[in-house]
C-alpha cells in the first residue's frame, strides 16, 4: 500500500499551476509543486494534497469528485478536463500544467467566474434538473409529487473554454447555451419561434465556426457542436417554410 492508502507504485510528477490573486499575485505566474503520483491519483487529488501540505492559499473549485457536478473543470496540459477524473499518469508527462478555464473571467488561481456561462444558459430555460416530459402517465408512489429528469449537460463550462470563438467573443451564446436551446426546441420546452428568436443573430447559432472542439472535450457526451449544427438545420427549414407560406 502506498502513502495515499492505495495500491500501486508512485512516481514524482511536477504540477505547474497558474496562480493569480488580484493585488497579491498580480500579474499571474506559475507555481510548481511536486507530488508522488500513483496510477489512480487525479489532478484534483494532487491539488488537494498541495493545498493540505504545501500551500493552503491555492484556490480551485470542486464538489462531487465523480464527474457529475461539473465544478472542477480546468485545463490540464492545455486541454479542458474535469480534474476529479483526469489521472495524472494518463497525461504521460513528468510535468503537468494546470490552468483555469479560458473564455471566463479569472477570479483567482484556478477559479473562474461562471456568471457569463449561467447568463447564456438561462434564457433557454434548460436548467440542470427539470420536469420530465417522458413519463406523464407513470404512476407516482405516495409522497412523490412529480418525477424529475437529469439532463446530460453538467454545466461545467468546459465547452466554452475550448471554443475558439467564445474565447474571443464574449457575446457568443456558446456551445452549452445553444445545445440547451436545441433541447428546448426538440422537447417542446419552448415554442419554436421563441427558440429561433433567441439563437438567430450574429452572436447566436451563426457565430459557430464549426471547430467542433466543444464536442471533443465535453466530459458528458452532450455533443454540443452537433446540436448547434442540428439547430441550424432546423432554423433554415423553419425560415424556408415561413418564406413559402408568405408567398
Amino acid at each position: 500500500m502506498n502513502q495515499h492508502g492505495r495500491f500501486g507504485p508512485t512516481r514524482p510528477i511536477t504540477l505547474k499551476i497558474l496562480r493569480y490573486k488580484p493585488g497579491f499575485i498580480d500579474p499571474p505566474r506559475y507555481d510548481t509543486f511536486q507530488v508522488q503520483a500513483d496510477p489512480l491519483m487525479t489532478v484534483l487529488d494532487a491539488l488537494e494534497e498541495i493545498k493540505a501540505t504545501a500551500d493552503s492559499t491555492l484556490l480551485y473549485r470542486h464538489s462531487c469528485h465523480h464527474a457529475s457536478c461539473g465544478t472542477c473543470g480546468m485545463k490540464v496540459n492545455g486541454r479542458e478536463q474535469l480534474a476529479c477524473v483526469a489521472r495524472l499518469v494518463d497525461e504521460g508527462t513528468d510535468e503537468v500544467v494546470v490552468e483555469p478555464l479560458g473564455s471566463a473571467p479569472l477570479v483567482a488561481d484556478l477559479v473562474v467566474d461562471m456568471t457569463p456561462f449561467a447568463l447564456h444558459m438561462a434564457p433557454s430555460g434548460m436548467a440542470l434538473v427539470r420536469d420530465s416530459e417522458f413519463m406523464p402517465e407513470a404512476e407516482r408512489p405516495a409522497g412523490v409529487e412529480r418525477y424529475t429528469r437529469y439532463e446530460d449537460c453538467i454545466e461545467c463550462n468546459i465547452c466554452l473554454s475550448a471554443c475558439p470563438v467564445a474565447n474571443t467573443n464574449p457575446g457568443f451564446i456558446g456551445p452549452a447555451g445553444l445545445a440547451a436551446a436545441y433541447r428546448a426546441l426538440v422537447t417542446g420546452e419552448r415554442p419554436a419561434a421563441e427558440v429561433f428568436a433567441y439563437v438567430d443573430h450574429d452572436d447566436g447559432v451563426w457565430r459557430c465556426h464549426s471547430a467542433m472542439e466543444c464536442s471533443a472535450v465535453c466530459p458528458s457526451d452532450v455533443q454540443p457542436g452537433h446540436k448547434i449544427m442540428a439547430l441550424r438545420r432546423e432554423l433554415v427549414a423553419y425560415k424556408v417554410k415561413r418564406f413559402f407560406k408568405r408567398g
Partner: protein, 132 residues
C-alpha cells in the same frame, strides 16, 4: 508531501485560442487552417494588385517581372498559394456541409478525406508548375 519548487511569470494567452492546434482535435485543426489560409489569401490578393500595377511601367517593366515570376523561388510560392486555395476551398465545402446539419458525426472523416484530395491536387499542381 507536496513541495513548492519554483515560480515564474506568464504572458497573454489570447492568440493560443485561435492558432494553437496542439492537444486539439481535427475540427480545431480545420478551424486553424481556415484562418491561416484565409489571412494568407487576403495578403496575396493585396500583393497581386501591387504586382499587376507593373503593367503601368510598360512592356520593359512587365517583361522583367515575368522573368522574375519564372524563377524557382517564386514557383515555390506559387505552389504554397495553390495549397492555400485548395485547403481553404475544400475546407469551405466541409464547413458548408456540416454547417447545415449534415454529416456532423462524420466531420473528422470528411475533413481528412478532403485534405487527402487537397494533397493529391497539390501534388499534381506542383508537377504542372515545375514541368510545364
Amino acid at each position: 508531501m507536496a513541495v513548492p519548487i519554483q515560480q515564474k511569470s506568464t504572458g497573454a494567452r489570447a492568440l493560443q485560442a485561435w492558432f494553437n492546434p496542439l492537444k486539439r482535435s481535427a475540427g480545431f485543426l480545420a478551424f486553424v487552417l481556415m484562418r491561416v489560409t484565409g489571412i494568407g489569401l487576403v495578403i496575396y490578393l493585396l500583393l497581386h494588385m501591387v504586382v499587376i500595377g507593373n503593367l503601368l511601367r510598360g512592356p520593359e517593366g512587365w517583361d522583367a517581372l515575368v522573368a522574375t515570376m519564372k524563377s524557382p523561388a517564386v514557383l515555390v510560392l506559387d505552389v504554397i498559394l495553390i495549397a492555400g486555395i485548395l485547403i481553404h476551398m475544400l475546407n469551405g465545402i466541409r464547413v458548408t456541409i456540416i454547417g447545415l446539419g449534415f454529416g456532423t458525426s462524420s466531420h473528422k472523416g470528411i475533413f481528412w478525406t478532403l485534405m487527402a484530395v487537397a494533397a493529391l491536387l497539390l501534388a499534381y499542381s506542383g508537377w504542372l508548375v515545375f514541368t510545364k
